[in-house]
Amino acid sequence: MSDHNEQHHIVPKSVYFAVFITLIAMTWVTAWVSTVDLGRLNIFVALSIAIFKASLVILFFMHVKYGTKLTKFTVLAGLYWLVLLLFIAMCDLWTRGWMGVPGR
């Protein structure tokens, strides 16, 4: 496997600058979009931008893009657990009203 080479992958500075500029730009977009009322879409747009920015940081600044398979697996496990937490907790919220009895 080429594990060893990948670990010492050297990223050109230009990539870091490009990522940095994108992050700053997206911060502006976040601020701007918050002034536009999109109704129910507000939360989706805000979260999409946030997730996009987080992915950039994880992939480039944290070098996961150039990491080993094990590193990627570890990151994915963390994300998967986050989804478990959010999804299962939301299942409670979504089904609370089904019985039509408050508090059940």
Binding site: L85, C91, D92
Partner: protein
């Protein structure tokens, strides 16, 4: 086997390699850090025990004569916080795990020695925060910090206590990280995954829980701090929050946290049962994978703490079924341990007595968990002494007995001395009897309807409460004894040989206590774990 001890010339080992307090406080050696942890968790355990004694003293009469209700709230809260976060969670991983994992895999140290030391300092800082809370007036929320009481109504020092546990969480995360990297990268040549001792498998699974779960509880307590300090709404409906959300977030970690406590114990028990039966553990792969299964499925059952908290009944149903399912991997272990002993040459040395005690108590704790995860039964039992008895059977009967078992098993390796065989057996029996006398009556009390966390109760509950308090005294005696004879053994115990129990792990193939580098030469592994055929005849100790 014990060499009749003419005062041998002291050989070089990790204990006398360097001397002076500085050499301990700045050490990177996993064995020394394990000792630092051993001392600190023992102190916190003793302190937690003092609070337990206060609880049992108060409850020996129906009236609230020793403590006021407010003080009582603070006492059981401190008991819970100290025992859970500062004793049970770090106990086995940070002491025995730290000491043994590198030795079991034939390595010189953990992957990140400095991070290892850092994790101990973080633990100490978190502990100091919590002691500060104790000295300045305490906290009265219970160790669970339920909202909205903790964020809006409690008069205690919730913020400081929450921060103490937040800080302490990082110690746990760093330990888990260190173990995972070490187990992946630093195994001796020939030591494949399926040749690893089961203790290592158990710690691998534990570490995964520590890394995936601990950040959640740390953040959750931080949110409590934010809501209480700055009125940012997360949990209090008054600020637009949802109090049940707190319980979801809290138990997402705190149910798996029970497995952080019990999995390492199970690892200890697997080693001990195999050694004292001189038999390869029955179903090695099943035991190994059941650890991983517990780590994964343990994350899917947290809602069984919320059955009466206003959680959706449909979510409750699923959580209830999943909670039944998670009992299966634990049951696999218990059956496999029993099968390991079957037709083995069972020797009832002290560690084995503790291991047998563990199996009995953990089984009771696990099965009463099934009672509690049944939706209907739980409505009757929620917040009664039945719950208290259940989780003490798991945490004390399971985790604490596993810890004592491991300490007695590896003591000769860690300090190179044997302890009194007679006194240690007496203590093992006292702990088992005292424990049952303390907590079995609590099942009955809970079933009869006595709620937890009250300092007064109707007189008809007194008989069982007195039994319980009497049991607690026996248990305390059983726990004070080891503190005495183990300390005594440090100077006066007989010198232990390399492998006094006739065990098979790599850690038994080097000096007791080990040299600084653990092994003279890096061991090469050519056989499966637990190969007793290569073992010379074991000489009986004592």
């Amino acid at each position: 086997m014990i060499t009749a001890s003419p005062p041998v010339k002291e050989t070089k080992n990790y204990l006398n390699h360097e001397r002076g307090i500085k050499s301990w406080l700045l050490t990177g050696d996993h064995k020394r850090i394990a000792i630092l942890y051993l001392i600190s968790v023992t102190l916190f355990f003793a302190l937690g025990g003092v609070f337990a004694s206060l609880i049992r003293l108060e409850l020996s009469t129906p009236a609230g004569d020793l403590l006021e209700s407010n003080q009582y709230n603070k006492v059981f809260t401190m008991h819970g916080i100290l025992m859970v976060f500062f004793f049970l969670i770090p106990s086995i991983p940070a002491t025995l795990g730290n000491f043994l994992i590198p030795m079991m895999i034939g390595a010189k140290d953990l992957a990140f020695p400095k991070i290892n030391l850092l994790s101990w300092y973080i633990y100490v800082v978190g502990g100091i925060f919590t002691l500060y809370v104790l000295l300045t007036g305490g906290v009265d929320t219970g160790w669970t910090f339920y909202t909205p009481f903790s964020t809006s109504y409690s008069n205690g020092y919730v913020i400081a206590a929450g921060l103490g546990i937040f800080i302490n969480g990082f110690s746990s995360i760093l330990t888990g990280l260190n173990f995972i990297v070490t187990i992946h990268r630093m195994r001796a040549p020939g030591l494949t995954w399926f040749r690893l001792p089961l203790f290592v498998w158990a710690h691998y699974a534990t570490s995964a829980i520590m890394i995936l779960g601990t950040p959640v509880v740390a953040v959750t307590l931080f949110l409590v701090v934010l809501e209480r300090g700055f009125h940012i709404g997360f949990f209090d409906p008054a600020y637009g929050g949802d109090p049940v959300l707190f319980q979801h977030l809290f138990w997402f970690y705190s149910h798996p946290a029970v497995y952080i406590m019990i999995l390492p114990s199970m690892g200890v028990i697997s080693e001990v049962i195999s050694t004292f039966s001189s038999k390869k553990p029955f179903g090695y792969t099943f035991i190994a994978f059941s650890s991983v299964a517990i780590a994964v499925f343990g994350f899917l059952v947290w809602g069984h703490h919320l059955f009466v908290a206003g959680q959706s009944i449909y979510a409750g149903l699923v959580f209830s079924i999943l909670s039944y399912v998670v009992a299966i991997p634990s049951a696999i272990k218990v059956f496999n341990w029993a099968a390991t002993m079957y037709k083995g040459k069972v020797r009832l040395e002290t560690p084995m007595l503790y291991a047998l005690g563990f199996i009995g108590l953990f089984t009771v704790g696990g099965l009463t968990g099934i009672f509690l995860s049944s939706l209907g039964m739980d409505v009757h039992l929620t917040d009664t002494y039945f719950v208290v008895a259940h989780f003490h059977y798991v945490m004390v009967g399971g985790a604490l007995l596993g810890y004592l078992c491991g300490i007695h098993f590896w003591w000769p390796k860690i300090f190179g001395r044997m302890y009194s065989q007679v006194w240690s057996k007496v203590s093992a029996v006292l702990v088992f009897v005292g424990f049952n006398l303390t907590f079995f009556p609590q099942f009955l009390l809970g079933y009869m309807g006595m709620p937890r966390r009250y300092h007064v109760y109707p007189p008809e509950f007194q008989v069982f409460n007195v039994l319980s308090s009497a049991g607690a005294s026996v248990l305390a005696l059983g726990l004070i004894l080891p503190a005495i004879y183990l300390t005594w053994s440090l100077k006066h115990g007989e010198i232990a040989s390399e492998n006094p129990w006739g065990a098979t792990g790599l850690e038994w193939q080097t000096a007791s206590p080990p040299i600084m580098e653990n092994f003279e030469v890096t061991p090469v592994v050519t056989t499966e774990a637990y190969d007793y055929s290569t073992q010379q005849e074991v000489v009986h100790v004592g």
